[in-house]
Amino acid sequence: MQHDRRKFLKSSGIALSVIVSGEILRVSPRSAQAAALPYQVLTEEEVATLQGLAEAIVPGAREAGVSHYIDKQLGAAAEDCLLMLKYLGVPFADFIGFYRGGLHSAGRLARLRFSLPWPALSADQAQTLLVEMNGDTDIEWDGPPAPFFFFVLRADASDVVYGTEQGFDQIGMPYMAHIEPAQAW
């Protein structure tokens, strides 16, 4: 059993702890997604927008657990937070507001254009909105600047899709770890 657990954590690449009924479960974002574990910070609507948006930007992000990963990091202490946003001039105290503002604006944009939430958009519809988010034309948006939010979310999704041992393997790059990431975040 212990061996299986180590193997599981090793293969998960990144892991997180989630509190369910007072118990701390340590699982990977991918497994948390598969098991539909509850969220600590994000609302159901925010999660739906995040998953649809991230999946359109980096295919595989939803299954890799991007929403659980971001949710977990937003609930962490500043020095434990691993989001790339910490490099980009946004104070840690504003992280939740940054994601909330971006997700609410993205969700509203989808409803305004297509009367649909992000997960229900077709590939073409999602592409239309992503182009608008990165374009120069004014859009209905009151969160962080849309291109910046896109950049950050793309980086987060790239982390969970490509930044793990499984992600390296997926694109044919040897991981060659000195110390494998085998602990909970």
């Binding site: 690449g13 990144i14 359109a56 930007i57 980096v58 295919p59 595989g60 500043a78 020095e79 434990d80 937070c81 691993l82 989001l83 790339m84 910490k86 490099y87 980009l88 001039g89 104070p91 840690f92 590939a123 592409q127 992503l130 990165n134 950049f151 793309r154 980086a155 790239s158 982390d159 490509y162 930044g163 793990t164 992600g167 390296f168 694109i171 044919g172 790059m173 040897p174 991981y175 060659m176 770890a177 000195h178 110390i179 494998e180 990431p181 602990q183």
Partner: protein, 530 residues
């Protein structure tokens, strides 16, 4: 505010446990001094250095926010470190020396500032540090290299990516040499040799890379120094005359305030936090901040402008192999700083090891690609991508500075606000270099090379050294002009940036300061126990 709970006395207090603080602490402890190192971040062990670009973010700055402005922000949170070892724990270990023409910018070119010392003053300290920690390289191949002892180890191997890009330099009549790296190409003084797996900036847990946990911080502890983590210094204390520091006040992880005293105080908390601490230590005797009578603390803030060049090659490049800092180096145009509208030296760091994710990872080299096209790009780039980095000289400008913000941290200390703009001549330098880099990549066989955005790499200045109090914050040994026993250590002392990675120079300068504090005018022969 909680009450002050303890008062202790040491010979030397060192604020910060990065490259500079570690050297000072080791040298003081070896000399028998009672040393306390106060580090605001958590303790780090080699076992914490997990091979993951995501986990590695724990090593980056997580302290009080730094407000940034300007046309080339300094990128504090990416460049600074958090925890034992400071930013040197995630350094790339690219250790070239400053060149002889980097020391007298104002006298020789009418720009920026002069150092109060010359290359020959620093040379013996470069040699000493190099012998202690080991550098791999080929001094002969570096035809631009200033005089000094040859490297104690042969260079690291050049892999496919480096060999491919080198063809472009050769085709354009340019020269490359193996990068001088503070990474062992063989077992050196008991430390292991590199495995070439490209996890340098995630922290090297085998000790092949000369981070402070592998070198001076560990040597300091072995010599008797105490490292106290989660201890954030909030003020430097001084006597009634204002000429002598008596110690510092710090807050522990629970917010309790403590005072510790010493006959010598060394501030080695990196460029921004050192300046912030001086400004925040204002007193009746020093109303504008400690040793800031001439309003110079915080000024002359610098960062190297840097751009990456990328390309996809037909041949496989194995971009995951080697060191994060690269495999080859070019300084062909370093000696000539005046280049028409452009001004400054620059270097190319060639064939950096790449990972798929993070700020400098493959995915972010083309932020315009997404959806299915991104996956196609990632699969191709993972095996066929090449890259190199332009590192340019910045100019010391008085208006680029660190100031105190109106906002405060959890301990009531004002935050730092860092403003940094580059002049047109520096922008022109970067633009010309990018054009050269793209031409090199085309000559090397990359079909459609592209350049990344200009970013700030490394942080220097803010507490510059100089001959006179009217134009500098410290003397040539890093001692504050207005206090007799407070020293600055680290890149904040640099009056010019040069165009080389600063960590080797930080070590050499700190070694020189340590010798001065100990009363040695020439390099001491003390070396770590092995």
């Amino acid at each position: 505010m909680q009450r002050i709970s303890t008062e202790e006395v040491f010979d030397v207090l060192v604020v910060g446990s990065g490259a500079a603080g570690s050297v000072i602490a080791a040298q003081m402890a070896r000399a028998g001094k009672r040393v306390l190192v106060l580090e605001s971040g958590p303790a780090r062990q080699m076992s914490d250095l997990i091979s993951s670009q995501i986990w590695a973010r724990r090593l980056k700055w997580s302290g009080a926010p730094v407000e940034e402005a300007g046309n080339l922000p300094i990128g504090h949170n990416f460049n600074a470190g958090w925890g034992s070892g400071g930013s040197a724990l995630h350094q790339f270990a690219v250790w070239p020396r400053l060149h002889e023409n980097d020391f007298k910018l104002k006298s020789d070119y009418g720009k920026g500032l002069d150092w109060p010392i010359e290359y020959d003053d620093l040379r013996p300290y470069y040699d000493k540090v190099q012998a202690e920690v080991g550098i791999s390289g080929d001094a002969t191949a570096e035809k631009w290299r200033p005089p000094g002892q040859k490297y104690p180890m042969a260079p690291l191997p050049v892999f496919a990516q480096g060999r491919l890009i080198d063809k472009g330099f050769v085709a354009r009549g340019m020269t490359t040499a193996p990068i001088p790296l503070a990474i062992n190409s063989e077992v050196y003084r008991g430390r292991k040799a590199c495995l070439y797996d490209g996890w340098c900036d995630a922290g090297c847990p085998i000790g092949a890379l000369a981070n402070p946990l592998a070198t001076y911080l560990t040597w300091a502890v072995e010599a008797g120094a105490e490292i106290r983590n989660e201890a954030t210094v909030v003020k430097v204390l001084h006597d009634t005359s204002g000429r002598t520091a008596t110690g510092v006040e710090y807050c522990d992880a629970d917010g309790a305030r403590h005072r510790v005293h010493a006959s010598t105080v060394v501030l080695a908390a990196f460029a921004v936090q050192n300046a912030r601490l001086l400004l925040a230590s204002a007193s009746e005797r020093h109303p504008q901040g400690l040793s800031n009578k001439n309003d110079l603390v915080g000024r002359y803030l610098m960062t190297h402008p840097a751009n990456s060049i990328y390309g996809i090659f037909n041949d496989e490049t194995q971009p995951h192999l080697g060191a994060t800092g690269g495999q080859l180096i070019n300084h062909d145009h370093y000696s000539q700083k005046e280049k028409g509208k452009a001004f400054g030296s620059y270097q190319w760091l060639i064939a950096n090891a790449l990972k798929p994710n993070d700020l400098l990872g493959i995915a972010n080299t083309r932020p315009d690609i997404y959806g299915a096209a991104l996956d196609d790009f990632m699969r191709k780039a993972a095996t066929h991508m090449g890259n190199m980095v332009f590192v340019g000289e910045d100019l010391a400008l008085a208006e680029n500075r660190i100031e105190l913000s109106e906002h405060k941290d959890d301990y009531g200390v004002p935050l730092a606000r860092a403003t940094h703009n580059i002049q047109d001549s520096t922008a022109a330098l970067a633009e010309a270099a990018v054009a050269e880099g793209l031409a090199v990549f085309k000559a090397a066989g990359a079909a459609d090379p592209w350049a990344g955005p200009r970013i700030g790499m490394h942080i220097m200045g803010g507490t510059v050294m100089g001959e006179h109090a009217a134009s500098s914050v410290t003397n040539q040994y890093g001692r504050l002009h207005e206090l007799d026993n407070v020293f600055i250590a680290g890149p904040g002392l640099f009056p010019s940036s040069g165009a080389v990675n600063p960590t080797f120079t930080i070590h050499a300068l700190a070694m020189r300061t340590a010798d001065h504090i100990l009363g040695n005018d020439t390099p001491s022969n003390s070396s770590p126990g092995q």
